[in-house]
Amino acid sequence: MAIGESKRRSPARLDASFVARWLRASAADIARNRDHLTQLDAAIGDADHGVNMDRGFAAVLSMVDSADGLTPGELLLQTGATLILRVGGAAGPLYGTAFRDAGMFLGDRSTFVLLDLVDALDAGLRGIIKLGAAEEGDKTIVDAWTPAVRALQRARSGEPARATRAARAAAEAGSVATTPMEAKKGRASYLGPRSVGHQDPGAVSTALLFAALDRAAR
């Protein structure tokens, strides 16, 4: 139970079924929050984030259902390709790149440990930052994804479920913290000071993905 204890045990192995559970839980959460995401986006965007993400993750879900014998890395690569193709807008390329880069990091290994998951999600974050050039504080996906990776890194030597719980809370807090920010990247930045007071829909969907990751780890 204690962290010191888990260190002495051999670390828990994660596999393709863990990744599949994460993707299924993500699709369910996105579908459940479709209207909420769209409402958030209506305030500072095109009011299509919920619809676009739901369309993309519905496609991911059917990919997972028909994926037989894919490695964890291949599942994430396929997810990335599906999101780029099906989501559109800024979210498609950004999330697509994140999953693709995370998948490339995992390569073709059939199982992996928490440390690999942390590094894979960090690789995904770096993909988002490279494409979008956003920093923390710009009111984007990065504001939820960065604290989540940081929380994972702090908890990387413990139980996966403990680490993902911390990441979930950090992503949630990060998404809440976008409300008072003025958007510096993306179309919301056209609004300038008028973007203040609205939660960033991308940061909220990122928080959903980390909540789903936590459920998959339990």
Partner: protein
């Protein structure tokens, strides 16, 4: 040197700008701190601005916010903007013709101000971008306008700060200078996810009677549809055709520059 009365105008302007940036309501002390003036001075300025309806005080909190008269001033600016007024009909027609959103922008300082925006004609929810300012080098409107400026003004633009908005934003002055040469050659400018991921824009400059650029009109939309790297010919023809007609309305003489895409495209053959 600045006289007392001019100094107070400057201070009043700074107060309005402070209220426009960031938090929508500010108290006298917060404002005094932001503009670096004594509280009594700020209070006096606020009362004067309030009498002109340029600021208003929140009855409950006593804090100040921008006043309704500013909307009138902003609207008057747009109403009196010649390029905007003349582009209203042309922009609508162009949006219909290509099935995408259309923006008209003008270079002011180092930014493009969007003075007109026609939504993509598909009934989807879109936000009005009139009044938005974009760093000039991240926008096809800005590049189209800048490409036709004098070499000296282009150099000034290229030597200033060139912020990065996405991983694709061009931030190397030499690369941008080459891009501007290409824009001047081709008769249109493109922007490929350089301002917003997933979005692109194709724009052409509009000229006045002296052959000087006064702004640009552009088609903006999802990169997968616009194919910014090699735009559909029908779109290019519709865009440059519109820019040329708009230029004529602005007094540009026929047959001068801005006369369309300088490639093997016969605009008449298309419609």
């Amino acid at each position: 040197m600045t006289g007392a009365s001019i100094q107070s105008v400057d201070r009043a302007a700074r107060i309005l700008k402070a209220l426009a940036a960031g938090s929508p309501r500010l108290g006298v002390s917060e404002l005094a701190e932001r503009v670096g003036l004594a509280k009594t001075t700020v209070h006096g300025l606020l009362r004067t601005l309030e009498r002109q309806d340029l600021v208003e005080q929140d009855a409950e909190t006593g804090k100040y916010r921008l006043g309704p008269e500013l909307l009138q001033l902003g609207n008057a600016f747009l109403d009196h903007h010649e390029l905007r007024s003349r582009s209203l009909v042309w922009a609508d027609t162009l949006a219909e013709r290509v099935g995408e959103a259309v923006r008209v922008g003008v270079l002011y300082g180092r930014s493009v101000l969007v003075v007109h925006h026609v939504f993509r004609p598909d009934d989807s929810v879109q936000i009005l971008e009139v009044g938005a300012t974009l760093p000039w080098h991240t926008s096809a409107l800005g590049k189209a306008h800048a490409a036709h400026l004098t070499p000296e003004r282009r150099r000034t633009l290229l030597s200033g700060p060139l912020p990065r908005l996405t991983g694709r934003t061009l931030v190397d002055p030499h690369a941008i200078a080459i891009a501007l040469e290409e824009v001047a050659q081709a008769g249109y400018a493109t922007e490929d996810e350089e301002a917003v991921i997933g979005e692109g824009e194709i724009a052409a400059a509009v000229f006045d009677h002296g052959g000087h650029p006064v702004g640009a009109i552009g088609v903006v939309g999802p990169v997968e549809r616009l194919q910014v790297a090699a735009p559909p010919e029908a779109l290019l023809v519709a865009l440059t055709d519109t820019a040329r007609r708009l230029s004529w309305e602005m007094g540009a003489r026929r047959g001068r520059r801005g006369a369309g895409i300088h490639r093997s495209v016969a605009p008449a053959a298309r419609r």
